[in-house]
């Protein structure tokens, strides 16, 4: 039997694999904790992080040059006497996630927003790094 393996087919398959990895998690994203998404446009980046049950005040967000660090702790509740656990699926403990941003950030314009257990960090680029339209002069 003849199986055509053109690059376009392979690309299609890789894309499918990508999608599947996203849905079910590949090695990296499965162990990553807490989970993060990143979105960009011309002006900068929005990083979102899933933090269900975490008090946003307990988070520590730091920027050093273009190194962004988000750290905190998910407290484990103390098991009291006479209690019995049936499921223990939630992850607990300290975490620290560090990201190297591909641009310089206007540190004083960073916005951190937290709603319903999702943290959203808006990181604007410094003006010099924003794309600039170059006008063509007609001679």
């Amino acid at each position: 039997m003849y199986w055509p393996t053109t690059y376009s087919n392979l690309n299609g398959f890789n894309r499918l694999l990508d999608e599947m990895n996203r849905l079910w998690g590949n090695g990296a994203s499965q162990t990553a904790f807490p989970k993060v998404n990143a979105h960009t446009n011309e002006d900068g980046m929005v990083i979102t992080m899933e933090l269900p049950g975490i008090d946003p005040d307990a988070l520590d967000i730091q920027l050093r040059e273009n190194q962004l660090t988000i750290s905190g702790k998910i407290e484990k509740r103390n098991v009291e006497e006479g209690e019995r656990y049936h499921r223990n699926e939630r992850r607990h403990g300290s975490f620290s996630r560090q990201f190297t941003l591909p641009f310089r950030v206007q540190a004083d314009k960073i916005k951190a927003n937290s709603s319903n257990g999702v943290l959203a960090l808006t990181l604007p680029k410094v003006e010099e790094e924003k794309p600039r339209k170059i006008a063509i002069q007609v001679a």
């Binding site: 979105h39 899933e50 049950g53 209690e83 019995r84 656990y85 699926e89 939630r90 999702v118």
Partner: protein, 130 residues
């Protein structure tokens, strides 16, 4: 994760069906003491308005509808999680007093308390010397 049709119970008792789409199985802790069973269910991105807890024939069903952040004009460049609704069902033993179930939602974490019926709570019988 399952692809069951999401159903939502309206206040007047009618059930409307939402579009068929993926629902993620939320992570959950369950523990009990002698008075109650507790559940903590992780549903990041779900408001208290968009969570629906129903009980029918001893099956407790939790539905959470995510309202994705408005990121218009942005393109996603890196992803470890997907936005999606949450759904999970649990069979509840008949020792639970269904009338007394209570739920609170905070920072995307749903906490349910399922009190046990008086009859099943352990009772201490004091022995008196004859």
């Amino acid at each position: 994760m399952n692809s069951d049709t999401l159903t939502r119970r309206e206040e007047n008792g009618t059930v409307t069906r939402e579009e068929k789409r993926f629902a993620f199985t939320p992570k959950c802790d369950i523990w009990e003491n002698q008075n109650s069973v507790y559940l903590e269910v992780e549903m990041p991105g779900v408001t208290d308005q968009n969570v629906d807890v129903s009980l029918e024939d001893g099956i407790l069903t939790i539905l959470g509808r995510v309202e994705p952040l408005n990121l218009e004009g942005y393109s996603r460049v890196y992803a470890e999680y997907e936005d999606g609704n949450f759904e999970r069902s649990f069979r509840i033993s008949d020792e639970i007093d269904e009338e007394k179930i209570s739920a609170t939602m905070k920072h995307g974490l749903l906490r349910l308390e399922l009190p046990k019926r008086e009859a099943v709570k352990p009772r201490r019988i004091s022995v008196t010397a004859a």
